[in-house]
């Protein structure tokens, strides 16, 4: 595609980016189009309100957290490269290539996906999901007729279930051990989200 090349040439360090994230040129072009569409003021950077302008994302009960995940602390904007890097988490994990121990963990590995999810809880980045953090998530995910009391019970129970070292918080290791197996497969490989963006990204150019 001629347009692919012309778009690619607009992006600096595009090879590096592709290498790093594993996206194909077509993906990058798509993402770049989207990025530009979101970037209404054509600054080359996205601000949170650009994300917030997506209606459906505004409907997402944890939309704020998702948006927040794109912004490293203290930064108000995200450029295309970081944008793509974050999205690379959502590429399906490569099963075909056996793990190369010498290489760093790919960003779309199962672990780093989980890590991403974990960070959505762990907003203070202390490596633990505290009771308060959990409660906060629960509050945003549960309907309003659930009483605070009930929420707290659920949070307590959740922590009790997962907490192996009795520190009243869920560490990443503990989070990992939650038998999400089926659920994780469900979300990442099939089920209602089967045509999710990451999948679609991976779809047309499968080799």
């Amino acid at each position: 595609m001629g347009s692919t090349n012309s778009t690619l040439s607009k992006i600096p360090n595009v090879e590096e980016l592709m290498e790093e994230t594993g996206f194909t040129p077509a993906h990058i072009v798509r993402l770049y189009d989207r990025f530009e569409a979101l970037d209404k003021e054509k600054t080359g950077h996205l601000r949170p309100q650009d994300f917030g302008a997506i209606n459906r994302l505004a409907m997402n009960p944890i939309g704020d957290r998702i948006i927040g995940a794109f912004f490293s602390p203290g930064q108000e904007t995200v450029d295309f490269h970081s944008f793509v890097r974050i999205l690379a988490h959502f590429r399906p994990a490569d099963k075909k290539h056996p793990k190369d121990p010498s290489m760093p963990e790919p960003v779309n590995s199962r672990t780093s996906k989980l890590k991403f999810a974990f960070q959505l809880y762990d907003q203070d980045k202390d490596g633990k999901i505290s009771r308060a953090e959990l409660l906060q998530v629960l509050r945003s995910m549960l309907e309003m007729q659930v009483t605070e009391e009930q929420l707290e019970s659920i949070a307590d129970r959740t922590i009790q279930e997962a907490d192996l070292d009795n520190d009243d918080a869920i560490s990443f290791e503990e989070f990992r051990k939650v038998p999400l197996g089926r659920a994780r497969r469900l979300t990442y490989q099939h089920g209602p989200l089967q045509h999710s963006a990451p999948r679609i990204l991976s779809q047309p150019h499968r080799k």
Partner: protein
């Protein structure tokens, strides 16, 4: 005058006779044209005719003014229609009185059973079989609402091309496969002399096969919905159900034509194929045109909101009728019309009209579905049958076999192209879910009499429907449970799994939205661009900057304000939000709770019932019996109203935490909040939470209580505003406020941070929200509203209402009301 009267009396008598035959017949039967009329003429709504009666009556009697007259003939048709619809509706109520019946037995079975009983009664009193199913009545009056109803009732909202590929594949290719396969093999069966059906030729067999290959898995859909099988399966069956009849009707018309021909030439086959495309695509074309015109019309209805729904219905029906006129696929027309309109109209019509449309479509759909199955039962008893064991059994067998084979082969073909292949279980359910229904039934009854073995066909089709609806329909639920088809989300594992997987789903959904709708199709992309640039501007009223969400949000805020006005005087809601606090105090002391099994069950229950569904999936699975409920969306919207503010206002945004705190900056960040929400504060300080924690937790904790739509805190929002404005002289509130704000350092800091963030929204300077010490620097600014223009403006005038003064009283009462307001959770505990 005399003769005139005599004439009209005669006319009346004829009328009376014909209609009398249909006494206690079916509503739609009454709609039918009177037999002598040439078929095809469009006699809708006969009431016009008997209208001549009343004038004639006194004249014919030639008597004095009667003191009492009864003119049944005049009202008969609508009267009976009403009665039948009522009867069917009562039956529906009956089924749902005891829920277990409909759980195990699909509703269609029950309706057919009742129809059978009614049919038996009619038969025993030698009532004529109703002429319900003339082609015209069924296709002009019952089918459109039924099909659009199906669309609305069961439609999964997530329509993206990827999910719909297999649908078209199965619906079109699958139906063709079935009808050709069954037709051919039935023809082979007919050659067996023992069955004495050698007289059925190939064309007739093909015609019959086309009729019975129309899969109508409405019953399966409701089972799927209940057990929540995976969505892909659901969509395939749904789409099959929808497009199938279009395909079948085309095939039917084609074969009817072919069946009359003595010799079938190759040209005819070619023409048949061409016609197939003309019919299908033509239907879609008409649908799109009418949908577009309708959308364009609604552009001008802003002043006549009350007739908006009418436009929608009339245009849809018009699309249907015009498609019928050209005998192209009218079902395709009405469905595409509805889709096109949905795309544009929703932005034009008012929210209320939208709801009305949805309700009416739902109502019509349900009623026509009910009636169709009901009549099926009645007609089964009242028609003449021709029973032929061999033919019927072979048809059943062949239909099953070909369906099974079809699913296997088609999935084999399509699987390599899919990310998630259909596995064996899916295939099995897909094959087994091939119930036959309304379409087959209607088509077979409208067979021309020139077909020699029409009665046999009718009997076989009814057997087929009965077999599939009863045997397969009833057994499919246990079977699904047995082989445990991949469910969407029903398995109860640990609470952790439940919460985390939902979070992950939300995340994926969010990222998906963030990346936008991706399609692989060049043309689709082009079209979308074209649509956005040009097409949309025609039908949609004005390209206002604000999104539909903003509009909805404004409406919601207004609604909330109204609601508060209604409830503020002496309602207990205000008090109830306080209750958790008291319980909290008690519970915060003990370090760990013990959870009993019952609690665990409760939690699972709460989680599964109350977790927000992914995106619009809430409405996706609106069941037949519950109307769409967008309260969840409303809740989320209200919770997240800042994100809208953010998009409207020039304020900057500093990350998720910031977002949380900013979210509420429109609410007065004054101390009054404190008095409202002691529970959180007490809990956190009681737990010895560190600074970060309360920082983290505070805003969203407050958000929870801010939610006007949460019943327990309904009146919160403006009440607080009032406090800031210090229009409440009540000492109790103020005292509380002072005490609280003075007492706790952490709280104070939280507050100031809040202030700071709000003021910060105008200051582009970078700041770190993780650093709480940064807060007090700019914390003095209370000018929180400056960043917004839209919703804030609407809110403002509402706030200073004297009615809020009632609030302190409520608060005082809260203590005494507490026992009443204990959360359910508590009471369930042993």
């Amino acid at each position: 005058m005399r003769t005139m009267g005599g004439f009209s009396q005669m006319k009346l008598a004829v009328n009376f006779l014909t209609i009398g035959l249909v006494i206690l017949s079916l509503p739609c039967g009454s709609y039918t044209e009177i037999p002598p009329k040439p078929p095809g003429s469009l006699t809708v709504l006969p009431p016009v005719k008997p209208a001549g009666g009343p004038q004639a009556f006194p004249d014919a009697e030639n008597s004095n003014l009667p003191a009492f007259t009864m003119d049944y003939a005049r009202i008969q048709v609508p009267f009976e229609v009403t009665l039948w619809v009522l009867l069917a509706s009562f039956a529906k109520i009956g089924f749902h009185v005891y829920h277990k019946i409909t759980f195990w037995v699909p509703e269609s079975c029950l309706l057919i059973s009742i129809g059978l009983i009614v049919g038996a009664i009619m038969h025993s009193v030698h009532e004529e079989p109703p002429a319900v199913l003339s082609y015209n009545v069924f296709f002009l009056f019952m089918l459109p609402p039924h099909r659009t109803g199906v669309w609305i009732l069961y439609a999964p909202r997530d329509r993206s091309s990827r999910t719909w590929e297999p649908v078209l594949w199965f619906a079109v290719v699958g139906t063709l496969w079935n009808s050709i396969g069954i037709g051919m093999s039935l023809y082979a069966v007919c050659q067996i002399e023992a069955f004495e059906v050698q007289d059925i030729n190939l064309q007739e067999n093909m015609l019959f096969a086309a009729i019975i290959s129309a899969v109508d898995p409405v019953a399966v859909l409701s089972v799927f919905e209940d057990v929540s099988v995976n969505e892909q399966l659901y969509i395939v069956v749904f789409g099959e159900c929808l497009f199938n009849d279009a395909v079948t009707v085309v095939l039917y018309n084609m074969f009817i034509f072919v069946a009359d021909m003595p010799v079938v030439e190759p040209v005819d086959v070619f023409l048949g194929v061409a016609r197939f495309f003309v019919v299908g695509l033509g239907g879609m074309g008409f649908g799109v045109i009418f949908g577009f015109v309708a959308s364009f019309t609604t552009r001008f209805t802003s002043n006549v909101r009350e007739i908006e729904p009418l436009f929608i219905f009339m245009y849809s029906y018009l699309a249907y009728l015009v498609a019928e006129l050209f005998s192209i696929s009218s079902i395709m027309a009405i469905v595409t019309c509805a889709l096109t309109m949905k795309y544009y109209v929703e932005e034009n019509v008012s929210q209320r009209s939208c709801t009305t449309i949805r309700h009416v479509v739902k109502m019509l759909g349900t009623i026509s579905e009910t009636l169709i199955f009901f009549f099926l039962g009645v007609v089964t008893i009242t028609t003449e049958h021709e029973w032929n064991w061999g033919y019927i059994m072979f048809t059943l067998l062949l239909a099953l076999v070909w369906r099974g084979l079809g699913v296997l082969v088609l999935t084999q073909i399509i699987n390599p192209f899919r990310t998630i292949p259909f596995n064996f279980k899916d295939q099995f359910i897909l094959g087994y879910g091939g119930l036959r229904g309304a379409i087959s039934f209607a088509l077979v009854f409208t067979l021309p009499d020139s077909i020699g073995r029409k009665k046999l066909f009718v009997t076989t089709t009814i057997c087929m429907i009965m077999f599939t609806v009863f045997i397969q329909g009833i057994s499919i639920r246990p079977l699904i449970e047995f082989i445990n088809v991949r469910r969407t989300n029903r398995n109860l594992e640990t609470i952790n799994v439940e919460i985390h997987s939902r979070l992950i789903e939300h995340t994926i959904a969010g990222v998906e939205d963030l990346c936008g709708q991706w399609s692989h199709y060049y043309w689709k992309d082009k079209f979308l661009k074209f649509n956005n640039r040009i097409l949309r501007k025609i039908p949609i009223r004005d390209n206002r900057a604000e999104s539909s969400i903003v509009a909805l949000y404004k409406k919601l805020e207004l609604q909330n304000a109204m609601g508060i006005l209604d409830t503020v005087s002496g309602d207990i809601n205000a008090g109830s939000s306080i209750v958790p606090l008291h319980e909290e105090k008690k519970s915060s002391g003990k370090p760990k709770r013990k959870f009993v099994a019952a609690d665990l069950m409760n939690m699972h229950d709460i989680l599964s019932k109350n977790m927000y569904k992914i995106r619009q999936r809430t409405t996706a699975y609106t069941t037949k019996h519950s109307l769409p409920n967008d309260s969840r969306t409303k809740e989320i919207l209200i919770r997240r109203h800042t994100s809208i503010r953010r998009s409207l206002g020039p304020g900057s945004f500093n990350g998720p935490n910031e977002a949380k705190s900013q979210k509420y900056f429109s609410l007065p960040p004054g101390k009054s909040l404190d008095s409202k929400f002691p529970p959180q504060r007490l809990r956190h300080t009681g737990n010895d939470d560190d600074e970060t924690m309360s920082e983290m937790d505070y805003p969203s904790a407050r958000s929870r209580f801010n939610q006007p739509s949460r019943s327990s805190s309904r009146a919160m929002l403006p009440l607080r505003r009032l406090n800031t404005l210090t229009e409440v002289p009540s000492s109790s509130v103020v005292d509380l406020v002072d005490e609280r704000s003075g007492g706790r350092g952490a709280w104070g800091r939280g507050m100031s941070r809040l202030n700071s963030s709000s003021s910060d929204s105008r200051i582009p300077a970078p700041r770190r929200h993780h650093d709480p010490s940064n807060g007090p620097d700019n914390g003095s600014s209370g000018d929180h509203g400056s960043g917004d223009n839209g919703p804030e403006g609407e809110q403002q005038p509402l706030s200073p209402t004297p009615a809020w003064a009632a609030e302190p009283g409520d608060r005082d009462d809260s203590g005494t009301q507490k026992p009443l307001l204990r959360p359910q959770w508590k009471t369930r505990k042993p």
